[in-house]
Symmetry: D3
């Protein structure tokens, strides 16, 4: 989506200029993975217009190769006001009838795309966008590579029952499931306690890992970003403190770094460490997209001024 | 509509910030009339959201009282890139399914609105937005006040035949018709020569005046904005040269100033002089909305530096 | 007053640009009340110039109807540098001989203004501006509507004795008195302990309510904004934490929201809750004027990201 | 004066930020002379405040040594809107009762200041500011160095008769008089034709040179800046074309460069060439103060891109 | 090179912010070709640092694939001040010892790079950077694809004799030579008249085409960009007028579009038409890099406002 | 050095504009001393170019007189990204072969410079720049005035052994030594405990004072800046809390204020109090250079809003 936010940190009601960016969960994940050195692609549907071009420009600039089906429809847009407490952050979506809502598997050469991929990722947000996007996700989650999925339930976009319905046929095709404590309890119905819930999910759905991301803290203050990876004999936990300038994209950055780390053969603890740090890092600057260099996540240098 | 344009004069493909404004023909006309000292109102339909609030804020700031029907739909948006030659100016509309497209006469207390009005104004752009807006225009053009209408045909929004169809039932209810040379020839079918065409229109449709606005010139260069008012024994012509920074809103400013001038009892020549100057004035700054003070249009002081 | 502050958060000594706004206690209060849905007016005196127009534009944009006496004098101006600790916030006034200093009751049609008003508000700052403004306040505080007044003593503008002298003739005409702990102790001489002091004020001056606003915290940090309303059998207290970006206007926003809440028939506890939250909310963004929507104050949704 | 202008090229009525600069004829002249390599000083009176400090900072940054008398009064301010035709440029002064209006010769150690000076400069604008400033000019124009003076009559600040009265006692103490065609005709009463008028002035007032600056052209377009120096056997004329971004300060830059050139021993033709070029150069950028390097005025390299 | 220019159009001596971009002849050419739909690569040497990353980001954003040798040295930088007449445009280079100066053929897998290329392009600027870059150019200009070269002699970087020496061994390996009238006369010694000179070059060096680009006009004004292609029986000429905002990159955009057009099989006249238009188009906005869409160059729609 | 940092607080990889400033330890110290009212000079070597001019402009603006040797080389540059935790602050130097690296004592009239100076200051950073700068420091540290020196060891610029070697011949010529706990332990080899280490240094090197500055805290949070002055019978300690916006220049501001305070005859405790406050103050705004007024450091007014 086109992301528009008041440049002065003020309010949409009277700000003179808007910062323009590009955002969206899957793209954010791909960018973070790319910054960790993993070749990444992003499937989407966009108009052949100057606004569509902006998506391509952004995507390529951050090292992700776009795979684009072209359609005549509009681009999705969201407006975001970022305020400290008690104001908080407010997202106003204007994404109805965007081009991607009309994407279907037929728009893409799926076998060729999958042939070169060691991993795929999608999220519950895509499931809310329509039949076409849901079929596209289903088509992409074919066996033969590690399949990551984040539930990412948002009450504005889908009810708990809808999300359950859409998720069910997919669960057998997932290898690594990202589920927040809310997702584990309310969408999967596995109880209040995240770790036992994750272990149940592991067993029930034949997963390789369940990843539990969790973030607390408010804009302007210090927050903690944590990642827990639960697997067969695996319980890797890491957390990272950081100041919150813009909370959007933190979870996606963590997911992208976790995926890249595992795919590069790092062990779950290392992956969790890097993911937690990346998640906190991205909250320190504006914009959905990760801006770190790989060594800013992996280096042990923690001086306050590096010079 | 929400108006978004690259703050740096560059391109949507990579500009970092967008200037935010509010635009649209009828509102621009109302604002220009208000700046000339005429009490003005603007009928619209908007969501009850922070984006809807921005319209109210802008409208009131410029002295126009909004009359708003509230609906759940989105706000119309347009993106504009402003370039000098050979680049030119490109508008990308994203206004489908905006709240105003769903406006109908039932949303407003039309008799009360008309009771306090000495004049009404609408344009052909509104006719393209749907059945509801067309019915609303029809309802507003009741006898009892001077009814101004600008054809403003735009090929991207309607074909010539559509515009003819929509315009026809309205023509008997118009007192002052704004028609460009293109409108006179192609929509009204009155021939290539604007003045005889306008005289024919005057007679055919029982109009008080036909106003022929005309603008030439390119961004960065000097252009000429002219206004001709044709009426029974009236042929008032005025033109004003000016440098073009942003060409959008010039015609609307001219229309608003012309209306205010006539309603304030000025003669057509005076109205044409002020309208031509206002039209050129608004091209010297960014944004759809007129920013002049009344005395900047009416004063005879033409020094290059007033100090 | 015209409010000018370094856009980069730096210092007046070398900042390249200044943010421009409009500020002043009474206007800020009117704007906050308007944002809560209360029709509001603002009495002032301004030059008929582009700078005077800016005040009108700002005032109307925020939903407040200006009632303006026109005078040839300058507009008041203040410069503000906003810094975190140990720097702090510094206001440099340049308001001597501004047009409002010459306002008198004769400039306004007071009976007509009062006829439509359910409440009036002014503050001790206005009392420091001259004989004319003091007479104007006196004229406005006629019986027949709820009369709110905030002492708001500032040592740079008036001594304690001056403020006592000016306040005395007014006290009998006040219904709801805003008095900080400092005002209660030093201006009203009612002792160190705010609640007993407020109760004494209630009795001594025949007030309906005494409101004690209190704010602590520094720019960049978290502060607490509290409101206590003391009345006959009423002791309503509320506080709200928030991060402080710009502390100016917080008290005014609280006052405006409190007034609107009481005038809309809410009970004192509700009014205090909303006022405390509004006061904290306004500190999270730049500028004197409140930018919230009513539902951002009244809603119970406290998620850090609303999407 | 503090100079405040809309950063976006728009209007004071709604611009979000103002560019801040420092301007004023005498300081502008001193800065231009300094940029040509001439040691320069500027006499003024300023408050001991952060706003006063800004003047010192600006002055020193541009290589001019401020000689400051400190007073408690405000700093002079002017607002400027710069528009292309037909909008034009509008200056709104807010300089009444500024500190310099209260300057008198007693505030300065005039003999010491004059001891180190090879030239002095003031202008008719200073004569309009009050008795103190007029006495200060009189005190500075003591024999012993070349005394330059620019009439610079502005109708908003003084009538023709006032200017005549104030100028008369000074004329005997001037060596080089800058007088526009308007000044020669209306203030000095020497007729419509500038060259004969200048020759009469030369004889009547025992001047070394009369300098006639003249500028034509409008913002956004190309203008011509000309300088003519008339002296005993001297008629040096030069003109330079240039595009006009901001017309303020052009005359002052020409005067400063002309003074520096003559004081550095260049002949009048060279001085006129440099002055005309500097005058046009300064119009190409925002702000009163010259920003050129000496070699940008004196170099013969006229390529459109120097690389 | 990193390109840094005053954001406010002012001067390096006191501008508060710099616009940051990436520039350089070969990259600009590759970007323009890419915008025309031609897959493009750019060979360079960069440090593995955040500044090096910026080059990659920029390059990919504009659709060009970077082929990078990594070195420990700095990135080249240039500062540019863009002024209208008489100020003009001044480039200050700070590129000594940049990483690319140390590039050699051994850093790249040249056979593989050439295998996929239908065309290569370099320029005389690269020849001035050192032995390594010169060897790299020589290595790239192997037979098997169309080899384009632009002389682009700049007196600040090399003398005429140096350029002759460096160019000589390369001439036999060039198919299409871009040479300005200056290059034809002074570097190739073929006389004052460009067309006969180009015809001689065609014969002498066995070229397919000689391209003569020529640009006139100054910042703020209207200029003319022309392209002439001379070949065996070919004399294709085109010119395009346009307003000049930033003249840098215009020649490169023309070259890139010309190359893409020829490689896409268009005839020389079409290529010249597109190249002249692209060259003028790029001058209308800031920055070295072309921002047009293909259809903005090829479309016949020349309306001043496209809506 | 030219200091370049992303204006939006983001990252060099894609920020659209850079804030431009001038930084460097010795200049920062001189500016802070100047702001405390001490006449200050700065010795440097710069190119005679517009970039060199920027240094002079900055230096003079802040009240420091530059003493400049002119050389043809480049200006030193550094890029700085300022992020909150876990991102932190990263400095990327690009200062190799800058003009100052080639400075030698012969470039300056050292006796005349020293004649007017009551104190000198340099730092270990200068020692790392080459033989010439080291000789220059040696030449300046002649007896006859109080000689301040800050070790300021930075591991990126010199090893511990190099710093020891360069420092050794200088130690006998220092009167007041600034040494961080790290410098005391690793460079001077005086142990882990700063106070005993400082006392040993005092005795070993015949110093008047050892100053131990210390700063903790991260960007966005609250930090503590402390200063301890150890002398014969002197142990003055002060600390000041403050929020950290930009940590660069804090130590330099403390040093400059401490020097000015001692030279103005204040006692060490007062000097430490002012230095600690100044150090914290400068961290509240962007840029290396102190922006405070003297009274903002010395005043006892600690209200959060001074109005």
């Amino acid at each position: 989506m086109l992301r528009l936010s008041p440049s002065d940190g003020g309010a949409l009601v009277d700000c003179p200029t808007l910062d323009v960016g590009i955002g969206g969960a899957e793209l954010n994940v791909a960018i973070a993975a790319s910054r960790m050195g993993m070749a990444s692609q992003w499937l989407t549907r966009l108009p052949d217009s100057v606004l569509g071009d902006r998506f391509l420009t952004h995507c390529r600039a951050h090292g992700v190769e776009p795979i684009v089906a072209t359609g005549p429809e509009r681009v999705g847009t969201y407006f975001i006001e970022i305020g400290a407490e008690p104001r908080g952050v407010t997202v106003t979506y204007d994404r109805a009838d965007s081009a991607f809502c009309f994407a279907t598997p037929e728009h893409f050469d799926i076998p060729r795309i999958l042939a070169g991929a060691s991993a795929v990722f999608s999220s519950g947000i895509t499931l809310t966008l329509g039949d076409g996007p849901r079929e596209l996700v289903q088509a992409i989650y074919a066996p033969g590579r590690r399949r990551y999925f984040e539930i990412n339930h948002r009450s504005k976009l889908a009810s708990i029952d809808e999300m359950k319905d859409w998720l069910e046929p997919l669960l057998a095709n997932i290898d690594v499931l990202f589920a927040s404590p809310h997702d584990l309890r309310d969408i999967l119905g596995l109880g209040d306690d995240p770790v036992p819930a994750a272990e149940k999910a592991l067993a029930n759905f034949g997963l390789e890992y369940v990843v539990i991301p969790h973030r607390v803290g408010r804009v302007g203050g210090v927050g903690t970003n944590s990642i827990r990876i639960i697997g067969e004999g695996v319980d890797a936990y890491s957390e990272c403190e950081g100041r919150i300038v813009d909370p959007i994209g933190a979870g996606d950055a963590g997911a992208g770094v976790l995926i890249a780390s595992l795919e590069q053969g790092l062990d779950p603890q290392q992956a969790a460490d890097y993911a937690a740090r990346a998640s906190a890092w991205v909250q320190t600057h504006s914009g959905d997209s990760a801006k770190f260099r790989r060594d800013e996540i992996t280096s042990a240098d923690r001086r306050r001024v590096r010079r």
